[in-house]
Symmetry: C2
Subunit: 362 residues, 2 copies
């Protein structure tokens, strides 16, 4: 028993040592030469209480303000940056951390694309992370739900990992993954997020918007609102697909735990703005091809099907939208987070190829 434990400890230490050597080897690729970096708040609104502020009654709200619903942005510009920066918008329950170091300590898209000479803007959307001041009240509870997310995010069907999954199978990485989630400090509101992200594009003038999951919906709306969005890259969008009035497809039934998936109608004049820019959508692996009762695989089947209907609608109106199901281009095993999976350099290469094709990496 005791010997078993010692052997287990030695094995764990050896694994950690090998892991740290790998990380070290990766990190030593090249130093980053950063021309400028910083952070700021952008967008948001203000409420002012009635009355006049009295400095001798300073704990009373009269005449005081509350600023909220802004985004927080951290940016870095490498020396000799390409013209268009990449602007990263996270998904549900995530923050800008989603694009930083991966759960097992490898480089995320932040560093990978800095090394490829893109300026990066990492957003904490309004009511999330360091942009926590919300114009609406919220109650936050420590709800035990991580095995649900493990499954929903297609690492596997908990406690089983998908056999080919590109997610590290050690407990340290899984713990980091669970701890990178962070709650809403106010209800999710696509209009609020769109307003803040659009303000960011006003500030930076032009860029490529990269969204993940729930960020997809506000992503399309930002591109409609602001022609400074020069392209959209969406990883595994699910909700918020917008169609012109009269062209809404039937809801897609799904065994997924969020039920059937519906599109949303918008005026044709708004929809047509999405036909003016290149758009690419990526989905990972272990998504059902046909309806199934395996709920996570079926949830994402409905997302992928809706994305294809949506891209077809965009292209019918003269647009330029592509859906890439990564296994179909030979990239296997990706979870809901392709940009941080074990093969994220390969996933990044696929994006670099697309950016080059569209002339977006000048």
């Amino acid at each position: 028993m005791r010997l078993n434990r010692i052997i287990r400890n030695i094995t764990a230490s050896a694994a950690l040592f090998i892991l740290s050597m790998t990380v070290h080897a990766q990190k030593k690729q090249k130093p980053l030469l950063i021309d400028e970096q910083g952070s700021f708040a952008v967008g948001g609104t203000i409420k002012t209480e009635a009355g006049h502020f009295n400095v001798n009654d300073a704990l009373s709200p009269q005449g005081q303000t509350f600023h909220g619903d802004h985004a927080y942005v951290f940016y870095q510009k490498p020396v000799k940056a390409h013209k268009y920066p990449l602007v990263f918008l996270h998904g549900a329950g995530q923050s800008k951390k989603t694009w930083e170091t991966t759960a097992d300590g490898r480089e995320g898209f932040q560093n990978i694309f800095l090394l490829r000479k893109f300026s990066v803007y990492l957003i904490d959307q309004p009511r999330r992370g360091e942009a926590g001041k919300s114009m609406v009240e919220a109650t936050i509870k420590p709800t035990a739900d991580e095995q649900f997310w493990f499954t929903q995010f297609r690492i596997g069907n908990y406690p089983n990992y998908f056999p080919n999954v590109q997610f590290p199978k050690d407990s340290i990485a899984l713990e980091q993954f669970y701890r990178q989630m962070t709650p809403n400090t106010g209800a999710f509101d696509a209009t609020v997020i769109t307003a803040a992200v659009s303000s960011l594009f006003d500030k930076i003038n032009a860029g490529i918007l990269v969204t993940h999951s729930q960020g997809g919906g506000p992503g399309w709306l930002t591109a409609i609102k602001n022609d400074r969005v020069k392209a959209v890259v969406a990883y595994e969008p699910y909700s918020g697909f917008v169609f012109p009035e009269g062209e809404l497809p039937a809801p897609i039934k799904s065994a997924g735990l969020f039920g059937e998936l519906k599109g949303v109608t918008i005026p044709l004049s708004d929809f047509k703005k999405l036909t003016q820019i290149p758009i690419v959508i990526y989905y990972g692996d272990n998504i059902a091809k046909e309806p199934t009762n395996v709920w996570n695989k079926d949830h994402w089947r409905s997302g992928l099907e809706m994305a294809r209907l949506w891209a077809a609608a965009i292209n019918k109106h003269g647009g330029n939208a592509t859906v890439i199901h990564l296994p179909e281009v030979g990239i296997m095993g990706n979870t809901h987070f392709p940009f941080s999976d074990l093969n994220n350099l390969q996933v990044a290469d696929e994006l670099s190829k697309w950016l080059k094709q569209k002339g977006l990496d000048k």
Copy 2:
């Protein structure tokens, strides 16, 4: 009327132009050469609900986990870094943003000390910012209180700025300042914060802890808990001053809105650990010398007096603690945030001088 408005607009544009030129000129000082950067969660606890997780009943909490109360850390290591990194812990209502770009767009301590070849670790403490997963429930309300904070933080007595204040007087900077606050997602708990920051020092091996305001208390506790803390630098600590049993000074009465200020007793053996490392405490300007009814100036008078009693107790036991009231060394006009004030390069120089004196910049 219309001419007035045009002139006002021209003046505002000119001011903005001059501001942006200044920022630009500052930013162009030198590119940062970053050997490594990344982020991770550290510390924290786990709760597991009773029962067994069933993937076909995945929205039920049975057998599911919740990870919370970790810190989030973003770090950068410059090429040829000094031996000891600077580890930055923010104050109440703040996040790591507090050390980044200032409200008016200048370099914060993050960039200033990277350029001076220190590795930097920027913490979002447990239950704040991107470390939002809290083990305790919280309700967050959009409370209008910003004119209180303007006054409490000694920018002035709202709406008046202190005549010599080192805070920009334009509305854009003030808006950024208000928006950099972010709420607790669970009650402030010094023990929880100390545990997470101590775990960070275990991970990085050794470093210099730099705290602000409310971070001061967890700062002393971390240094007691973990001898990998090689020095503590505290900007304007207020609460959490620890004294050995039997040496607690009388509470200091104050017209400040938090009332009288009390120390806290700890065992002598713990207290003595604070005598083993160099400690420096800085306070800014517009703090009363004698008791006064101007509540913000009197609040910080009680803090400064308590800090002096505390440093005397440390030194009586053979320690090495210094309190520097910045106006007494000729640095005038600082608010509660000296490290981001208009003269923050001068404030940084003062810190660099101390680090050099103590041999901490090798």
